[in-house]
Symmetry: C2
Subunit: 276 residues, 2 copies
DNA sequence: CTAATAGTGTCTATTAGACAGTATGTT
DNA sequence: AACATACTGTCTAATAGACACTATTAG
């Protein structure tokens, strides 16, 4: 047994080749309706999905993606897909995970590296392509089961996921699709992986500012923290924590029947102006 | 310009195929020499390297790895490589990053997903293969420059890396190889990526216990924290923090000219015994 | 006036850092 | 006794949570 393994792989220099793609989980924040003219509009955390027009999964929704080209790195491929969908460049993105299940694509074996990207939706000037749409995320956790509802005002997509701790030392979650009729491929897993990553990163990095415009109010910023973390924050604590991440400007904004709010800009600990 | 991108990729359903491999960054802890019979032995954080016997980079050191097979997921391939090198199974591992630079392998385009794995070296009963060796890691940071020395008692490998903040919101580091004569491929980048991940995870997960045997003393555990974080910790603070991650046993161990120490076991917050 | 959000002051509870001390073995 | 590590007590500083309060606008 101990010797078997050593021998078995001794001269494995031959290799197979694989189709290789990248899928993009593009996050943004959507404004819901204001309930009255005085109240703030609700905020939703949302992702961009595109409707497939070809087999397999024709008619279903999936994450934007594409095959990697021979002269492209993964980063380049991800940027290309991002630009194709949003016409934006210099977007924040990070590698999420590489998915390699044998049957994740019914056509042929495809390995895919997923990226997540964060944008301020308001920056998109061109219309989205006809097949693309922003879906607001609604999560409902019931012990191990996570029910996800994605909704874009017209259509509602649901899937549910079993979530359990895969490794006790790192509390890393593993996801298993329980039901899913509307999303193509293993993309529900990518969505869960990205949401999980976001929750973690929002708490211990400044990643959230990639969702914000240059000038924003602390109230708006707090709303977005709350919608991502899915819980209310206390004002004084929140302001203490972000105090040294923002710069007060002399702009103010009047947004209704209450005191106008001061606008701030992001200031990273690596320097004031972030010249992306 | 805005229209160009949309058109250019409209019917990209064709795809190229890529060679696909996995590389393993296997971490462990090595005992150095005790200075006197009374002192504790120094600990070193170390990685497993193998000497290449074939071109390219014949004679250089590299991370253990191999091409992914057609009927294997990445996880399976990583487990296979792990078993081949150590004859151990059920090892802690996690996906690190997928490297896709165009010229990272001089033979042909190879995309590689790196994993990091943590083991208690003492569990390895079989001899390592002749070409494999544990190298202790010594880091020396001078502003942006990181000088890395890997040493296995006989041989010393050096390389240096420029480390800079790639993204200001997340403080994610990007690495660039400045000098490297002894390590094959882009493996210095994988090593840096893994060290960075370890430093982060040691602080906010229990990942370190994957390096420990079942029974250990708090002094040993603290030494290992210190060697990974590369700084001294204060005893009372350390013990406060790990107090609820360990269970006291009735075993003690006498290790020299001082009070014997109590042995502990790991207890995860998900339950006492972790039946891997 | 009231409703609604903007923003602040302050008390308390918890946690982190520091230092000094005690305990108990070998040589 | 001297040394080396094991382990604890306690003071202080910093941080997080909670609540109550003031400020300023539109209607």
């Amino acid at each position: 047994m101990t010797q078997k393994n050593k021998q078995a792989n001794d001269k494995d220099t031959s290799y197979e080749k694989f189709a290789f793609s990248t899928d993009l989980l593009i996050f943004s924040v959507s404004r819901g309706e204001a309930r009255t003219c005085r109240t703030l509009s609700d905020k939703f955390f949302s992702i961009l999905l595109v409707r497939r027009t070809k087999e397999p999964y024709s008619g279903k929704w999936c994450l934007p993606g594409g095959f990697v080209k021979e002269d492209e790195t993964l980063d380049m491929a991800a940027d290309r897909v991002l630009a194709k969908e949003t016409n934006l460049h210099n977007i924040y993105k990070e590698q999420l995970f590489t998915f390699s299940d044998l049957k994740r694509d019914p056509r042929t074996r495809v390995i895919s590296t997923a990226y997540m990207a964060l944008i301020d939706k308001e920056r998109i000037v061109d219309e989205l392509s006809e097949e693309a749409s922003w879906f607001n995320i609604h999560l409902e956790e019931d012990k191990e089961l996570v029910n996800v509802v994605l909704e874009n005002g017209e259509e509602e997509i649901k899937f549910s996921i079993k979530k359990y701790v895969e490794d006790k030392t790192t509390s890393k979650y593993k996801y298993e699709v329980i039901s899913n009729d509307e999303i193509a491929f293993d993309h529900p897993l990518i969505i869960m992986t990205g949401l999980d990553r976001m929750k973690n990163k929002v708490q211990d990095t400044d990643i959230i500012f990639n969702l914000m415009p240059e000038y924003f109010t602390l109230g708006k910023l707090q709303q977005i923290y709350e919608v991502i973390l899915d819980k209310k924050l206390l004002d004084p604590a929140f302001r203490r924590i972000i105090a040294d991440k923002v710069i007060k400007t002399d702009k103010t904004i009047k947004t209704g029947g209450h005191r106008p709010s001061i606008m701030y800009r992001y200031k990273s600990k690596w320097g004031d102006k972030d010249e992306k």
